[in-house]
């Protein structure tokens, strides 16, 4: 057992962080809002190996595991990188062209049922195919068969939504076991993305508090702020351990119950992201309520992900179902 990053993993993290900070800095967001995602971005992400990283080398992948992927997706979360990135990663081995970025897939998880209203398809206008996870397996719907309307004001300005009132059945391309595996992997990556959001919002909030002065001193000196920041840090660190433990459990299921480990990570990382992005808004004060500051992008992406592969409450129920009874 060595539950720390290896040298290779540190290099992986550094590489992806450098890319994300260069390509998706905060200054670039206003421009990005006009078109948050397109084929060009997908190509750049594919070039970084975001989609192919878990494929075997003989299939053009990097041969890495789920724990490695969690490191990468935490970095994407730190910069709220747009696009159906989680779907691309979990479907790269199932659908030709996804790994290289040539084919863009997004999806919906209907394993536990559907939401009220039209199906809300993220980046729907940019997709080649929509993938739906259902209890009986994975279904593929061609983009041309999607009859929907772009939502005028999506919650997350970096996640445009196509509202599709009536979803075609599509073609079943994989069985129920594969659907469960894909959902487990996607939940792990969602948790990792949450971790990145939790980290980034903590760092933004602390940096802001150190620079903002009231009563002739930085507000970072007030215990009311310090203790909020400390709680944000604790939540982020608890989430970090859970997310990487989940990644290791998916890679090596004999070390424990991967379903429980992933659901636990989903619960704590989701709570950390929501808690920290909300406190980030609070610590920024009035500025935190503006469009021009970073906190709201993180809060909104958290909410998108909170409703992606089951909710945190669904995950809590999964954990409860998997508590050992001996």
């Amino acid at each position: 057992m060595e539950f720390q990053f290896s040298d290779d993993q540190m290099a992986l993290q550094e590489g992806i962080r450098t890319f994300c900070e260069g390509r998706f800095p905060f200054d670039a967001i206003p421009e990005l809002e006009k078109e948050p995602f397109n084929r060009g971005i997908q190509g750049e992400l594919a070039e970084m190996g975001i989609f192919a990283l878990r494929l075997p080398e003989e299939q053009g992948g990097l041969g890495l595991g789920m724990a490695d992927a969690a490191i990468v997706f935490a970095e994407l979360g730190r910069r709220v990188v747009p696009g159906p990135v989680i779907w691309g990663n979990v479907l790269a081995g199932l659908i030709d062209g996804v790994a290289t970025g040539e084919v863009i897939v997004g999806g919906l998880d209907h394993t536990l049922g559907t939401s009220p209203g039209p199906a809300m398809v993220e980046h729907g206008s940019q997709l080649d195919a929509l993938i739906v996870l259902r209890k009986d397996g994975i279904h593929r719907i061609e983009a041309s068969a999607l009859d929907g309307e772009r939502v005028k004001d999506p919650l997350d300005p970096l996640t445009p939504i196509l509202g599709v009132p009536s979803l075609p059945a599509g073609e079943r391309i994989a069985d129920a076991d594969t659907a469960s595996r894909v959902r487990l992997e996607a939940t792990t990556l969602t948790s990792a993305f949450f971790l990145g959001i939790a980290e980034s919002t903590q760092e933004y909030a602390v940096a802001y508090a150190k620079g903002r002065e009231q009563f002739d001193r930085p507000i970072a000196g007030f215990q009311a702020i310090k203790h909020m920041a400390a709680d944000m840090y604790v939540k982020q660190e608890v989430a970090r351990a859970a997310v990487y433990a989940a990644g290791c459990s998916v890679d090596d299921p004999e070390i424990g119950d991967p379903i429980r480990a992933v659901a636990s990570a989903r619960v704590v990382a989701g709570e950390a992201a929501m808690h920290n992005s909300r406190k980030c808004v609070q610590i920024y004060g009035g500025m935190g309520f503006t469009w021009e500051m970073p906190p709201h992008y993180y809060l909104k992406r958290t909410w998108v992900l909170e409703n992606a592969f089951g909710t945190g409450e669904d995950a809590a129920e999964t954990v409860a179902d998997h508590i050992r009874l001996v």
Binding site: M1, A230, R240, G256, A263, V268
Partner: protein
């Protein structure tokens, strides 16, 4: 990153599990908490058995009688110990988790060889004389003085929250040896035998209605200068060594016990009837159990992460404060959840009719002490925000 235990770890697990399965039932149930003599016999007797079997001081160096286990064997040890519901460390807490580790880090060879084996065998009970009525969170404000007189320190002062003072053989005591120095600089760490003249103990009744801790009045107590640990006036640094142990791997066993307790509760909830169904049929209750279990899983993973850091650096890092904060607060929520599950049975602090109602509510009360002791949650938040996040410091 890898969470797989080695074959050697699994072999160790197998041996330990067999031993615990045989020995834990033989040692029987703990005595009534008000029976101090029986408690000492019970706690010391169990510690002696651990020692004989080679399971005492699992993470202590072998040269001082410990097992010298690897960090992963240590984790296996905590997992199996909690699974077997083996006896709580009890009165050996201070010796095993504070005094001993401090001597290992800072004591002289003579001090180590004198005390460490006796602590490990359960022959030497320690208590802690740190806090004072006006030195709680601001521990460095302590006023108990020690003046040199020949080969002795003459000690005067007033300590509080001294657990097991009534039955302890030795006290790890913080005293002020240089009143002229700034408050963090004039403190020393000494080992005080509890049978010296001038020590009087005034038990304090806790929220649980028992006198587990006490006030300790020291009046011209003569402690030999050779009982000083480390350098004179270096006690504050030495204390932080101790506190770091307390905030590092020291919580490992408690975290795993919490995971086990949640398993027990989920089994029990399937038997408790409410609204013509079992408590477990209540989706709200299940989700709450799931949230709590998820956090307990995460903290166990965090413990492994931190022990990975200890392996790299040789010392528990500042992350121990984050773990202490998260664990002690989760612990309260879990036992409050358990107490709610017991419903009106929680009105009794004694177990009734095969229910763990009494011990659950009693433990819930006890968990309230953990966010106060060893640096309150508020002090931990100051530590995290100042030393990790580098936010401005409080006045010291």
């Amino acid at each position: 990153m890898d969470l797989r235990y080695s074959d050697a770890d699994e072999k160790f697990r197998h041996e330990l599990r067999s031993w615990l399965e045989a020995e834990v039932p033989l040692h029987g149930a703990p005595p009534d908490r008000s029976d101090w003599d029986a408690r000492r016999v019970y706690d010391s007797g169990w510690q002696g058995k651990l020692f004989e079997a080679g399971y005492a001081g699992v993470n202590w160096p072998a040269e001082y009688g410990g097992r010298g286990a690897t960090l992963t064997e240590e984790l296996v040890y905590y997992e199996e110990y909690a699974r077997a519901k083996a006896p709580y460390v009890g009165m050996n807490f201070v010796g095993l988790r504070h005094g001993g580790p401090t001597l290992i880090a800072e004591g002289s060879e003579l001090q180590k060889s004198e005390h460490l084996p006796r602590i490990l065998r359960g022959e030497e009970i320690w208590c802690q004389g740190f806090s004072e009525p006006n030195a709680g969170s601001d521990l460095a404000a302590l006023k108990t003085t020690a003046e040199r007189d020949g080969d002795d320190y003459v000690i005067n002062g007033h300590k509080i929250w001294t657990s097991f003072a009534q039955k302890a053989d030795l006290c790890e005591l913080l005293v002020r040896t240089d009143p002229a120095a700034s408050k963090h600089r004039g403190i020393s760490w000494v080992v005080m035998p509890m049978d010296l003249p001038g020590i009087s103990i005034q038990p304090l009744d806790t929220i649980r209605g028992e006198s587990d801790f006490a006030e300790m009045f020291l009046e011209n107590v003569r402690v030999p200068c050779e009982n000083l640990v480390g350098e004179e006036n270096d006690g504050w640094r030495i204390t932080n060594v101790t506190l770091r142990f307390e905030r590092g791997s020291a919580w490992a066993q408690d975290i795993y016990e919490l995971k086990e307790f949640l398993s027990d509760l989920s089994i029990l909830a399937r038997k408790i009837t409410r609204h013509d169904a079992t408590a477990w049929d209540d989706i709200g209750l299940r989700r709450e159990a799931g949230h709590l279990a998820a956090e307990a899983d995460a903290l166990w993973a965090m413990m492994k992460w931190q022990l990975g850091e200890v392996a790299r650096t040789g010392m528990p890092g500042l992350g121990g404060s984050a773990l202490k904060l998260a664990f002690t607060e989760l612990n309260q929520r879990v036992y409050e959840f358990g107490t709610r599950l017991m419903a009106r049975a929680s009105l009794s602090r004694n177990d009734l009719a095969d229910l763990p109602n009494g011990r659950t509510v009693d433990t819930f009360l006890n968990t309230l002490s953990l966010t106060i002791a060893a640096g309150s949650s508020q002090v931990q938040r100051n530590i995290v925000s100042e030393r990790i996040l580098e936010m401005p410091r409080e006045p010291r």
